[in-house]
Amino acid sequence: MAATRTAPRPGAAVAPPAAPPPTARQPRRARAQVGRSLRDLATSVALVAAALLAWEGYKALGRATGDLVPFTSLPLPVATDDAAMPHVWQVVAALAGPASAASDQSLLAYYLQQTSVTLREAAYGLALGAAVGVGLALLMRQIPWLGRASMPWLVVSQTIPLVALAPVVVVWIGGAGFPSWVAVTVISAYLAFFPVTLNTATGLLSADPTHVELMRSVAASPLQTLLLVRVPAAVPSFFTGLRLAATASVVGAVVGELSAGAGLGIGRAILTAAYYYSLAPANLYAAVLVASLAGVVFVQVIALAERLVLSTREN
């Protein structure tokens, strides 16, 4: 807390009172920060490596015991043959191999291309969902009775299974003459708006009561109180919601593609790989791997935007 710090003497802010030690502090702190992020990165990579080792270890165990739990006659929960659990290197080899017999494009390049289509839909969906989410949160905050009455229905909207709803959306929007990516975007937005609404509404309510009372004492209009106190107070919560929404928007886009019937997108590619699973099991794992890595990158981009906004606001 600032209150526990000793008050700097007036003038301390203009010129540092004592000459700083010859080795300036700033670079050292920056170096410590770089060291920390390198360590974090190394830990992340190590966790992935550990997961791959566990995969291969389990597979080796199953091969050795004939898919039985050691020293028992109990079967292992998941079979370990190459059809059920391809080797890590088989998945890598599949990614490096051609996308199809007739193509000279690698499977990785093909999946990345499909993923870029999906991420674009997810980005549109996230933008639309965030806009709708913020709009709803503001509406609910300004008209409390409407907010209380509509909240249960917003919850219901998220409990409807998406696989049931997505085809309906596709039919409606396709029927209106829009291309299929529009339907996918809408489905993505449908999942994305909810965490934004919930977190932004909470943030709008979290305004410091002293700030609100202060605004009343100077006869501020409700709109001024909203814009000068509540909205700034809600920014951190909004970003928490946006990060959750980023994950949801990718899921929404993938599921949307499954229903949309368009030949594009990683969701579509996953479906195709699932059809041909018995012929090339590694392809499905490869597709899921690429899709999830892309999702991580997408969420990281949002997190970076959050850090940028919050740090410019505070410095």
Binding site: R5, T6, G11, A13, T210, L214, R216, V218, A219, A220
Partner: protein
């Protein structure tokens, strides 16, 4: 409830028969019961009393943040609601309540921004206020880079930014340590004398009330009533030496006796 301009120009605040009852789930609570009070223009009146005596409620009734159940409040010849609408009040609370997403200067500008004052004039007025509370060097700092005492000074500067006729303060020094507290008491007196603002000041500290005020209003709890009004005749400017004088200590003892007289009957009843 219409506040006719019956107030003499020398009276900044006039309360007549003010009562406030809060309805709670466990029944009605009488927070204020039949309060009459005059505060002269340019006066510094402290509301002193134990917790639950309604002093903060009374302050909020004066500032039109709480509507009284009965009685009238006149401020500068009009109703409290009109006074708030025409921005006659500056308020400071126990928590400084500064906004972390604004610089110190922009915090002080906030009331002016609400008022619709232009950017250049806002900045100029904020700079004047910063000079008044001696924080000019910290204009572009963030509130949390400041100590608690400095934050409270910013809050006071913000309260004064609109040049209010009435400054309402709810234990603004309550969270500070003794050293900082006495320092800010001196600062507050200096600012008050420089601006000529009428001050209503809520506190639970006897020495603080005596040191600052032209008049100490002792309140009694359950229901909140005015028990006694004690003028403090110590000359201004008051300094740290003032605290050591016999007159100061006599005044402090007098207020203490009145406050204890308030507390005795209520504890005897338990």
């Amino acid at each position: 409830m219409t506040g006719q301009a019956t107030t003499a120009p020398s009276t900044a605040i006039r309360l007549a028969g003010v009562s406030k009852t809060f309805s709670t789930s466990s029944g009605d609570v009488v927070a204020l019961d039949d309060i009459d009070l005059d505060v002269p223009e340019g006066g510094f009146v402290s509301l002193l009393g134990p917790s639950g005596c309604g002093k903060s409620t009374l302050l909020r009734v004066i500032g039109d943040l709480v509507t009284p159940t009965a009685g009238t409040v006149e401020v500068a010849g009009t109703s409290a609601a009109e006074a708030r609408r025409t921005r006659q009040y500056g308020m400071a609370f126990q928590a400084p309540g500064l906004m972390d997403w604004r610089t110190v200067r922009r915090n002080i500008e906030l009331p002016l921004q609400v008022q619709g004052v232009g950017r250049a004039e806002r900045r100029q007025r904020a700079d004047e206020m910063l000079e008044l509370v001696k924080l000019t060097q910290f204009a572009d700092h963030r509130p949390r880079q400041l100590s608690g005492g400095m934050q409270q000074r910013v809050a006071i500067a913000r309260a004064l930014a609109m040049q209010p006729r009435v400054l309402l303060m709810d234990e603004p020094l309550g969270a500070l340590d003794e050293m900082n507290r006495e320092h800010l008491q001196r600062e507050l007196l200096r600012i008050w004398r420089a601006t000529g603002t009428t001050v209503v000041f809520v506190t639970h500290s006897i020495p603080e009330a005596v040191f600052l005020s032209t008049e100490v209003v002792v309140m009694s709890p359950r229901p909140g009533r005015i028990a006694s009004r004690i003028p403090v005749d110590l000359p201004y400017p008051r300094t740290d030496e003032t605290r050591l004088t016999d007159e100061f200590q006599a005044a402090e003892r007098h207020v203490r006796e009145r406050l204890h007289a308030v507390l005795e009957p209520s504890t005897a009843g338990l």
